[in-house]
């Protein structure tokens, strides 16, 4: 029994066709799971379904064996599920510190200790804490986005293409941060385009094709699977 799982999820946008059909994903605490697949495979849709941004037509989402399929995204956040969207994932007009404070909006207790933990994890943010986020570099903004999502001390962190549009050096740095996050006993689930690098840091991976599970296995197995290599890794 996995800590956080979506089982046989079917969902689409509005009255349109189903984008994912009977798609199952799961992740445990202290594990990184990558969702891969070609464009239009339904990777982001699967993630949105897990978060509740889309209504499921069938299937269920469970956290810690509790069915949360009917909850709104806000209520799922209260259950400890944090999400970093691909775009517009920071408050660009607010300072770094304010971004983190908003991240902890639902927390009633003292957030100063959490903020200092985030600064420990991302030292660069500590230096720039009173700077407007819109003035930071792409990599730094991504760190603000991760920091904001971590402020509720989530048990599940969902990342939608965390390394889209950043340079390879920054990408390596971000992946290192994601590994650090995983070591704090968080379940990390991410959609990635940079399949090879993503699999190399992932414990497990799923390959989706036309909204269905096509392959799944440990990161290493998928990297070495000849069919996956040929179709998705371009080698």
């Amino acid at each position: 029994m996995a800590f956080f799982e979506g089982n046989k999820m079917t969902a689409g946008y509005g009255d349109g066709p189903d984008i994912i059909t009977s798609c199952s994903l799961n992740v445990n605490r202290g594990e990184i799971v990558a969702i891969l697949g070609p464009n239009g495979a339904g990777k982001s849709t699967a993630m949105k379904s897990l978060l509740g941004l889309l209504k499921l037509k069938s299937g269920y989402v469970k956290i810690n064996d509790e069915d949360i399929s009917k909850l709104s995204p806000q209520d799922r956040v209260k259950k400890g599920i944090s999400f970093v969207p691909q775009t517009k994932n920071v408050f660009a007009e607010l300072t770094v510190q304010e971004n983190l404070e908003i991240g902890a909006f639902l927390r009633e207790d003292d957030i100063q200790s959490v903020i200092s933990e985030i600064y420990e994890l991302f030292p660069i943010l500590s230096e720039k804490k009173s700077q407007i986020v819109g003035e930071l570099s792409g990599g730094q903004r991504q760190q603000v986005a991760l920091g904001r999502a971590l402020m509720i001390k989530p048990s599940v962190l969902m990342l939608d293409e965390p390394t889209a549009g950043v340079s390879p050096i920054v990408m390596d740095e971000l992946f290192e941060h994601i590994i650090k996050i995983k070591k704090t006993n968080v379940a990390v689930i991410m959609v990635e385009q940079n399949a090879k690098q993503a699999l190399s840091i992932s414990d497990r991976g799923y390959v989706l094709v036309t909204g269905q599970n096509k392959f799944e296995g440990s990161g290493e197995d998928l990297l070495n699977d000849p069919e996956v290599r040929r179709s998705f890794l371009g080698v």
């Binding site: 209260k78 969207p85 517009k88 994932n89 607010l94």
Partner: protein, 336 residues
């Protein structure tokens, strides 16, 4: 040549009135900018909402006067402001519940909401005319002047007198207090930060657990406070006439746009930019040049750039020029 008299002349007829008028516009402009930044539409009912709040202040002033309640040398209207604000917020929340919320939940485009606000404007105007009528009303009581021209002349021995009306000082002081509290609230409190976050990135704000209903509620409360105070201060300083409040919407929108719409600091400063431009461009400088130029050069005409009838043309021109050349406003800085 007499520079001191020239400066007193300008202070009396341009700078002091412009600071007063600018403060009144600034409150209205911050109202426009807050609604635009958080609820995402241009509220054409601004002028009439200010008028609506002021109407209660006027009626309550009459009532308080009739039962003999007053604030001594201060205008009775100041005493009525809290109740008027309460009525104003109540009206705004009813309008929001029955009109705006429907379009907000449907995620209508901003222009549709702006058109809806035009409807709200007409309804509000009609309600005001039914309750209090369209006529001109003065409701200022208490001490009218802090410093009279004759007293000033006696004190200093200058030719020019300086008149300081109590409404001018009240306007400036109240504006500074209200605006400082508002900026403190927006920047330093958790709720204020959440409102700025909601204005900046609505989806992420929702994902962070910010309650949109609460943000909308607080926006209307702040808007109600600004509209009522701005309207009452204007009414005390000039007079209360519903049609004039409707007209004031042009300089108020100009101020909000000059400041960069969505930016409350800009709107605050924009109010003064518009007020100073209107008053400096319509003031007759004949006497002023009489003081600073040698007698031989004294002008014969009034040296008035524009007749005061054209003061709306000034706000309108500034509006057009800003939209053409600096559409994001003349002030740099963060949005709400």
């Amino acid at each position: 040549m007499d520079y001191i008299n020239a400066i007193i002349l300008l202070l009396n007829f341009t700078i002091l009135p412009a600071l007063t008028y600018g403060s009144q516009l600034a409150l209205g402009a911050i109202f426009v900018t807050l609604i635009y930044g958080i609820l995402r539409f241009a509220n054409f009912a601004t002028g009439d909402m200010m008028s609506f709040g002021t109407m209660f202040a006027v009626l309550l002033t009459y009532y308080f006067q009739s039962i003999g309640l007053s604030l001594g040398f201060l205008p009775t209207a100041l005493l009525t402001i809290p109740i008027a604000i309460f009525m104003m917020i109540f009206y705004m929340l009813i309008i929001d519940k029955f009109v705006f919320s429907y379009y907000r939940i449907k995620k209508s485009p901003p222009v549709q909401l702006a058109m809806v606000s035009v409807g709200v404007m007409f309804v509000t105007q009609a309600i005001i005319r039914i309750i209090i009528g369209p006529s001109d009303r003065r409701f200022l009581d208490g001490e009218k002047f802090i410093l009279k021209a004759t007293e000033f002349k006696q004190m200093t021995g200058l030719n020019e007198g300086l008149t300081i009306k109590s409404t001018q000082i009240i306007t400036i002081v109240v504006t500074i207090v209200v605006v400082s509290i508002m900026f403190w609230f927006l920047n330093k409190t958790k709720t204020g930060t959440s409102m700025r976050a909601y204005s900046d990135n609505e989806d992420l704000a929702l994902l962070s657990g910010i309650d949109p209903k609460k943000v909308v509620l607080i926006t209307w409360i702040i808007a109600g406070i600004l509209a009522t105070i701005g309207g009452v201060l204007y009414g005390l300083d000039k007079s209360y006439r519903p049609f004039v409040y409707f007209n004031n919407m042009l300089p108020i929108f100009a101020a909000a746009i000059v400041g960069g719409i969505g930016n409350p600091y800009g709107a605050f400063l924009g109010g003064y930019v518009i007020a100073f431009a209107e008053i400096f461009l319509t003031y007759a400088y004949k006497k002023f040049f009489g003081y600073i130029l040698p007698e031989t050069l004294e002008p014969n005409s009034l040296v008035q750039l524009l007749s005061t009838d054209y003061k709306f043309a000034i706000s309108f021109s500034i509006l057009v020029i800003v939209l053409l050349f600096r559409p994001s406003g003349i002030f740099e800085g963060k949005k709400i």
